[in-house]
Symmetry: C2
DNA sequence: CCTCCAGGTTAACGGTCGCTAACCTCCCTG
DNA sequence: CAGGGAGGTTAGCGACCGTTAACCTGGAGG
């Protein structure tokens, strides 16, 4: 079972580099030739793997929202230790994502409007479900928190957790584990304050 | 003294519309013709007011960082009621900005890399000073909080406060004052949790 | 009344960009 | 060993974009 130590497929390579470049310079700021060059082929060779530049962005964004949503649903399903532990689990999942896939997090709320209508609707729907899932989870921990307030708090905490790309690039910061722990505390602190 | 109910000058009009369009579709996603059309003139007419498209972005970004920095310095200078009130004042200032100038907040951390080297350095320096000012202020309230941790917390709280553009556009949300108050509580809660 | 400039206009140029066309070359398979 | 598809290549097209050039116009000032 060498399922997941395989060499990355060409498609995956392309997506990784495209994500990096899009995050760095914006969708319109990157040419297909650069994306090709980043994986060692040049320009139009990409069209053997994708229908076009738009298709790469679409696959990235749909993939992200899908991954986040899938992970969150799994966590909800596996929750057996009460609402408090579930919220911690959601936070932890989001932090892992924010720390390990900075480029994707960046794209996620930056280039959504560059998508075809149908793709954009799909992504937005997944995002909305994800938010809703968090809102419910938060309100189970803090039942006295009204729903609109909970929604604002959830969006704000996403902003907080997604701030990782702004931390100086590699990280002179306290180290990955410590940063994760710190973000977790900050998020819980924000929710607690919202409810008080 | 009709100093600030004057009709906005053409330059100001252009900057406002450019900020809106840049925030909506990205710097490279907007053409000069569109910016012109947004203020009722067309395309090349902009060059009577700006040296080029880059110059507009530069003026916007330098202006933002400058405004934030100036406001924060003023608040520090006027602080007479101790560190706690100062931190509240900084938070309040940042929230006002985030709520009233969403487009600028969006540009601020999205299009920085599209600037000429000199401008980018200037903006980054202002940003760094702004962060530093916050870090000092936070550490006066929570002296037990180590500096690197305080810096991470400050960045995270910026992410939290800057989340306002993601709240559904006009705002079915609790209303401006209530949202501001909510964000304030969340930010203070996050800092408190960081220090605990 | 003439002048001149601030602030527009349209035409056009050069460069870039996404994408297609046409072709080439392994390598796998019957 | 023929052949065919997968995955490249380069050349080039058409569209668009930022910018410049050349020209026009209304109104303020001497």
């Amino acid at each position: 079972m060498a399922t997941r130590t395989d060499a990355p497929t060409r498609r995956e390579q392309i997506l990784r580099e495209a994500a990096r470049l899009f995050a760095e310079r914006g969708f319109h700021g990157v040419g297909v030739d650069e994306i090709g060059a980043a994986v060692g082929i040049s320009g139009p060779g990409l069209y053997r793997h994708f229908a076009g530049k738009d298709a790469m962005l679409a696959e990235l964004l749909v993939g992200i929202s899908g991954q986040l949503m899938t992970g969150a649903k799994r966590r909800v399903a596996e929750a057996e230790q009460g609402p408090d532990a579930l919220l911690d689990s959601l936070i932890e999942g989001h932090i892992d994502f924010a720390l390990d896939d900075r480029d994707l997090i960046t794209l996620h709320d930056r280039e959504l409007d560059r998508l075809r209508d149908s793709d954009r609707k799909l992504v937005r729907q997944l995002q909305r479900q994800y938010v809703e899932l968090w809102v419910e989870s938060v309100r189970k921990v803090y039942p006295e928190l009204a729903e609109p307030h909970a929604r604002v708090a959830v969006h704000a905490v996403f902003g907080l957790l997604n701030s990782t790309p702004h931390l100086s690039r590699p990280g002179s910061l306290p180290g990955r584990a410590a940063t994760a722990q710190m973000l977790h505390k900050l998020a819980r602190g924000a929710f607690a304050a919202a409810a008080e």
